[in-house]
């Protein structure tokens, strides 16, 4: 068992029902960093255009931006994601500001392991249109 660091979250302290809201503007720089990490240099992701008429955000970048539900409580250091379900609702233009709302939807022990489930929804902050939704499941750490 690894000792918990000061701000790393453990299963016992995760409150089901906890919610957190945050906003992120998806800049071309953030998209470029995603493309470098994924080694995916599709020209639709900018800086030139796409069939939509503008550079489009890679959906899995939005998936990564859904991960801040627990940020006010601490870090998910050592957690391991085992499942996620992404709902890709509409294309998102690079430069859009997205408003996220995340929630701890459940936690349980299965086969002796501690699981936490999170849910997040992203909407376009300007239009209010829902653009992305995600549910995810993690095996997290326990208190030593």
């Amino acid at each position: 068992m690894i000792a918990s660091t000061d701000d790393s979250l453990v299963w016992e302290d995760i409150p089901v029902g906890h919610t957190h809201a945050w906003e992120i503007t998806v800049t071309q720089d953030a998209v470029n960093a995603y493309c470098d990490g994924a080694q995916d240099y599709n020209p639709w992701y900018g800086p030139s255009s796409s069939p939509f008429g503008w550079p489009v955000v890679p959906p899995m970048l939005i998936s990564r931006l859904c991960r801040f539900t627990l940020a006010p409580l601490g870090k998910m250091t050592g957690w391991i994601q085992v499942l996620h379900r992404n709902g890709i609702l509409v294309p998102v233009a690079v430069g859009s500001t997205l408003a996220f709302v995340g929630e701890v939807s459940a936690k349980e022990r299965r086969r002796g392991k501690p699981f936490v489930n999170l849910r997040a929804v992203a909407t376009n902050a300007s239009s209010g249109v829902a653009v992305f939704e995600q549910t995810s499941e993690y095996i997290c750490r326990e208190r030593p």
Binding site: D36, A38, I88
Partner: protein
């Protein structure tokens, strides 16, 4: 997009630049710290599952084009870790087509395997393919 059609896969070798990347690493040392990852029971640093999903997304965008950006669900289960220097290959096969009011709902089984042909991620993509205007 006939049922049984296999998507062209892509292969990527996971380097330290990917594990340390701003997007796919973050603060979690399990993705870049050898000692920490070993203490957690792994052979070494492991890639975040979403990096593997990004590889599959590239394959899906190549296959579905604009349809991959709306009315799509993408479910993944991470079954085994991907380590530094692993070579990951994606795959996919069309498993269903159902006519809907606004187009055809296409279901695709997707996966990632490593250089030992072990399936480390399995998933399902469901996307509404609309007719061209």
């Amino acid at each position: 997009m006939p049922i049984g059609h296999h998507l062209p896969g892509i292969s990527r070798r996971i380097g330290i630049d990917q594990l340390r990347s701003r997007t796919f690493s973050g603060y979690n040392p399990i993705h870049w710290d050898q000692d920490y990852a070993r203490a957690r029971g792994f052979a070494g640093p492991i890639a975040t599952g979403q990096l593997l999903t990004a590889y599959m997304q590239e394959m899906i965008v190549g296959f579905l084009g604009v349809h991959a950006f709306s009315n799509t669900t993408f479910t993944c289960r991470y079954r085994a870790p991907a380590h530094l220097h692993d070579t990951i290959t994606t795959g996919g096969v069309v498993t269903d087509r159902v006519a809907e009011r606004n187009g055809t709902r296409v279901t695709i089984d997707v996966w990632c395997s490593n250089q030992n042909s072990v399936h480390i991620v399995s998933g399902v993509v469901s996307s509404l393919v609309r007719p061209r205007p």
